[in-house]
């Protein structure tokens, strides 16, 4: 009994010491170079999550949003747009847009009522949100964190990029074109017919728009298309070999000179190439590759969703395509957003 009293006398002051404190929010992950990963979570389960992989420590830090805000992020987060140190996370099946402090992951506000949002591009203090279900782009006032208005583009939309005053968005599901919107007038200024179901797109170092078309499910031959963003003409069109091919997740490295995408592994192609690569740069083997990112120095980061019902993996490959490390991420890890110089 005497010992217990002594222990209590020792512990009680410690409790007060530990409760004193500064108001600085503890960091959940090390600052510095790395990337965020959005894990979609189980469809309709609302357990999407945010992870950070630090290129400095070589470790992954999971469940950042839930840990910071004591609530889940929502159902199927698909995209992060950034503006300085503020991130805007699109949560597709919850129909929400979460603004967060990227350093702390603290929620700064939520926009609700978005119709199946997919991705967002920022111009000024406006966010342009694509929709899988609506033929309108939703414009969000990022200062007020509320929906401002809609722009009718006549089709559903998926990927979105802005170059100057031009917004390019892809008409993915059952579509076959890129729609261009003039941001000054917010009216359609053109469109480019690509291939069936343009799923992902990037700008290269030359300002060219590369579009990866999946071909739909067993429908048409997939295509990789290069578009001139000035005159909207197709400069190159490379066709895959079979309708059963299903390429996805086109991305580009930081220097904009090499394209990567998923197709029976990871495919790699210089932007100067005139033909598709014959073989995968990284074979998927037994893995179920879900999404990827291309980092500095040629390192490739691929997510593996396993069975879509458990926590997936982040696979880290070196510039030669050798597997360096495996880290466990959230459920259905997908979108990757690199953070440099922050």
């Amino acid at each position: 009994m005497k010992n217990q009293i002594k222990l209590l006398a020792f512990l009680v002051p410690l409790m007060f010491i530990s409760c004193e404190g500064n108001n600085v929010e503890p960091t959940l992950f090390p600052q510095g170079e790395g990337f965020f990963i959005l894990s979609e979570g189980n469809f309709m389960a609302g357990n999407g999550s945010v992870s950070f992989y630090s290129l400095i420590t070589g470790e992954i830090y999971n469940e950042l949003f839930k840990t910071r805000n004591s609530r889940p992020l929502g159902d199927v987060p698909t995209f992060i747009a950034t503006d300085g140190t503020t991130g805007y996370i699109i949560v597709n099946n919850s129909g929400t847009l979460e603004a967060v402090d990227m350093f702390t992951m603290k929620s700064l506000g939520t926009v609700t009522g978005l119709n199946s949002p997919r991705q967002m591009a920022i111009s000024g203090r406006r966010g342009y949100v694509t929709s899988l279900a609506s033929s309108e782009l939703t414009v969000v006032d990022l200062d007020l964190m509320e929906i401002s208005h809609q722009i009718d583009i006549g089709c559903t939309s998926e990927a979105v990029l802005i170059s100057g005053q031009k917004l390019f968005t892809s008409n993915w599901v059952a579509g076959d074109r890129i729609v261009v919107v003039d941001l000054e007038t917010e009216e359609i200024s053109g469109s480019v017919t690509t291939g069936t179901e343009p799923e992902s797109m990037v700008f290269d170092k030359n300002g060219k728009l590369w579009v990866l078309c999946t071909g739909g499910y067993m429908q048409d031959l997939p295509k990789l298309v290069r578009i001139n963003t000035v005159n909207y003409e197709k400069e190159a069109e490379m066709t895959f070999g079979s309708v059963s091919d299903y390429p996805s997740s086109l991305t580009v490295n930081g220097s904009g000179d090499t394209l990567y995408w998923l197709h029976e592994g990871v495919r790699m192609m210089p932007v100067s190439s005139t033909s598709l690569p014959d073989e995968a740069f990284i074979a998927s083997g037994e893995r179920l590759f879900y999404d990827l990112g291309a980092g500095a120095g040629g390192r490739i980061f691929v997510t593996d969703a396993i069975d879509y019902q458990q926590k997936g993996d982040l696979l880290i490959y070196d510039s030669r395509g050798e597997l360096e490390d495996i880290e466990q991420a959230g459920i259905i890890p997908g979108f990757i957003r690199f953070m440099t110089d922050w």
Binding site: N42, Y246, I306, D307, Q310
Partner: protein
């Protein structure tokens, strides 16, 4: 990659010659069930407006058969079958919110592994293989029986999770009876029903009608709201349903002809999940079904025989705010089965069953109407080598379009530890099969025509005790140990294209303990009865063909390790009161068991009275559900209501004619 091959499916053509031959062969087939000699207690129970005496025992069967006490069925008369099973049996119920789709997991296997039959007709939809237990009102049957596992091979095809049998036995010598009931409850919940029937010397008839609607905009706690936990009101969740059953039976000598008809219609809005925000996609669903069965049975000295024919037509229409996602799924069965049993002496019985089931399903997601024919024949032998030992052997061979199947078997023994059969030791082993449903085979995209059937090998051992004292005290206890290995479990998993497809990807080991305890204590005019069920179930993924699958060694999702329920009823003169509780342990929601629903407790209470007025009785009951106002989810993000109230008025009468009074 999945492989879709309709080439493997040979459409079954119904020709007159084939049907005639089948009929003739079935007519000479042999049977078993009706020949089973029930030798134990008789339970006198009340159902709705009438009192019947029913033989209760399937206890001699060497595997578990649970007959739900009819007082429990009567206590849940206005509920659906899912609610009854949740409160009265060791199964676990998974429900997508109040009035939402409900599936029943028996012994740790998914709801698609539970077969439901109504008078021997399969109720599961041919397309997805599921039965939505929320769409089965208890008006549709007066008897509910559960056989866990796939031990019973007397049906045309099998299940490896378990079987739920619904039926309404003909009631002879009852006179004319009827009842009307009306109820109202929280959140615009209204229900009404009417039953009218008569039972004479040789004819029994009954007509049941029911209908109900619920606004169902209940309050719940959204614990994940961006602003912090707050009370919200459910939207897009109304439900309405109605239906009718008609039963007609005629008997003469040892022969009985019975016909049954069941029409059901349900319209439901489908509320979305609550994933920080309450999602609402304007979804709704219509389910319509028409089922009919006609049967003939014969009991004559050493022979019993029966023939049953039936058909079902199910329509499931799904609507979404985006019409591209709308669904139109239709399926139907035609079934013909026969049985014949021969008892050469008091010690043995030989029987044969044969039957054919023709399935058809069409969907917007099928390339064409898909069809499948299942023919099976099963043999059964019962032998009593001594006065206290019962042996059972069953074997079944299925012939299925496009599949090659091994024979299934069950072997079991029952030993009476006491001369009166009050204490039994039972053991069974079985090997059985579950066929993939038509969606597994033909859904576009993802259906896999190369799927193998699932197969299960397992056994159970049990102790059963029943004692009925002259004082009226009744006690029963059942303890069951069970273990099963299921190979080639069919699951839908994503492929490299992101398209989900069906595959035989995992194997599971299921083992557990079940305990059932029942007691009824009469104390002067007070009768106290209680039923308790407990199940410990471990359904462990034993092997997987999914690369890097961390689910191996983990519990299957939504299978509670511990499941407990308790029903307590008190009857004193005109008054009746009761309480019920369901407690479920942790239910994992991810295959690697990294996330779960917490343990839950749902408790209800009810109070009522029956006021006699000559041949008429007036009953009034009030129910309080979720008395502790617990925030509950059966499926993640699909909340159940907080505390609700329901008031019900029942008027019933029975008029016995002279003939019936004499025979009584």
């Amino acid at each position: 990659m999945f492989k879709r091959s309709s080439a493997y499916i040979v459409p079954f053509k119904v020709s007159r010659n084939t049907m005639t031959a089948a009929l003739l062969s079935l007519l000479i087939a042999v049977a078993q069930e009706a020949g089973a000699q029930d030798m134990f207690i008789e339970d006198t129970v009340n159902i709705s407006a009438v009192t019947v005496t029913a033989t209760a025992s399937k206890r001699q069967t060497p595997y578990t058969v649970i007959s739900i006490d009819r007082t429990l069925i009567a206590g849940h008369h206005e509920n659906d079958l899912a609610t009854l099973l949740m409160y009265a049996t060791p199964v676990s119920v998974k429900r997508y919110g109040n009035h939402g789709l409900a599936s029943v997991s028996v012994r740790g296997l998914p709801g698609s592994h539970t077969t439901v039959t109504w008078h021997g007709l399969t109720v599961n939809a041919a397309g997805n293989g599921y039965t939505d237990f929320a769409l089965i009102p208890l008006h549709a049957a007066s008897s509910v029986k559960i056989t866990p596992g796939g031990y019973d091979l007397s049906d045309i095809s099998g299940s490896i999770g378990g079987k739920v049998e619904l039926s309404s036995d003909p009631l002879f010598h009852t006179g004319f009876y009827g009842s009307v009931a009306a109820g109202a409850g929280s959140y615009g919940d209204y229900a009404a029903s009417a039953v009218a029937g008569s039972g004479g010397e040789s004819v029994s008839s009954r007509l049941s009608l029911w209908g109900g609607k619920a606004r169902n905009d209940f309050l719940f706690i959204n614990g994940n709201a961006a602003e912090g936990a707050r009370e919200e009101r459910r939207t897009n969740s109304s439900a309405a349903s109605g239906g009718a059953t008609a039963d007609l039976a005629f008997r003469t000598g040892g022969s009985t002809v019975a016909a049954h008809l069941w029409y059901n219609n349900a319209e439901r809005e489908l509320p979305g999940p609550v994933t920080t925000v309450q999602q609402d996609f304007g979804e709704r669903q219509t389910d319509r079904s028409l089922r009919s069965v006609i049967s003939y049975s014969l009991e004559k000295e050493k022979i019993s025989a029966g023939i049953t024919a039936g058909g079902t037509s199910d329509v499931n229409l799904y609507y979404h705010e985006n019409p591209e996602y709308n669904g139109d799924n239709r399926s139907s069965f035609i079934m013909l089965r026969a049985r014949l049993a021969y008892r050469p002496n008091g010690k043995s019985e030989l029987g044969i069953n044969a039957g054919n089931e023709y399935q058809s399903a069409q969907s917007l997601s099928f390339a064409e109407t898909e069809r499948r024919n299942i023919f099976s024949t099963s043999l059964i032998a019962r032998f009593n080598p001594g006065s206290r030992v019962r042996l059972l052997l069953q074997a079944r061979q299925m012939l299925v379009t496009g599949m090659v199947l091994k024979p299934e078997f069950t072997a079991g023994a029952t030993v009476m530890l006491s001369p009166d059969g009050g204490q039994l030791l039972k053991a069974s082993v079985s090997r059985n099969t579950r066929l993939p449903c038509l969606n597994d085979l033909y859904w576009v995209p993802g259906g896999n025509g190369s799927l193998r059937h699932e197969n299960a090998t397992g056994g159970e051992a049990s102790y059963s005790y029943v004692r009925v004292a002259s004082s009226g005290l009744k006690n029963s206890l059942d303890l069951v140990l069970h273990a099963t290995r299921v190979n080639d479990l069919i699951q839908w998993i994503p492929g490299v294209t992101g398209i989900w497809s069906a595959g035989n990807v995992r194997s599971v080991n299921v083992y557990g303990i079940e305990g059932r305890l029942g007691t009824e204590v009469p104390v002067n005019e007070l009768v106290i009865s209680s039923h308790l069920n407990y199940a410990f179930t471990r359904t462990e993924i034993a092997a997987s063909e999914i690369p890097n699958d961390r689910a191996v060694g983990k519990q299957l999702i939504y299978v509670p390790g511990n499941n407990f329920n308790l029903n307590l009823d008190l009857r004193w003169k005109m008054l009746r009161a009761g309480a019920a509780a369901v407690c479920q342990g942790r239910r994992y929601t991810t295959s690697d068991n990294s996330e779960w629903l917490p343990p839950s407790l749902l408790a209800d209470a009810r109070l009522g009275a029956v006021l006699p007025a000559g041949a008429t009785k007036i009953g009034i009951d009030i129910d309080v559900k979720n008395i502790f106002n617990s925030s509950l989810e059966s499926v993640r993000n699909y909340p159940m209501p907080l505390r609700t109230f329901n008031l019900r008025l029942t008027i019933s009468f029975i008029k016995k004619n002279e003939e019936n009074e004499e025979s009584d």
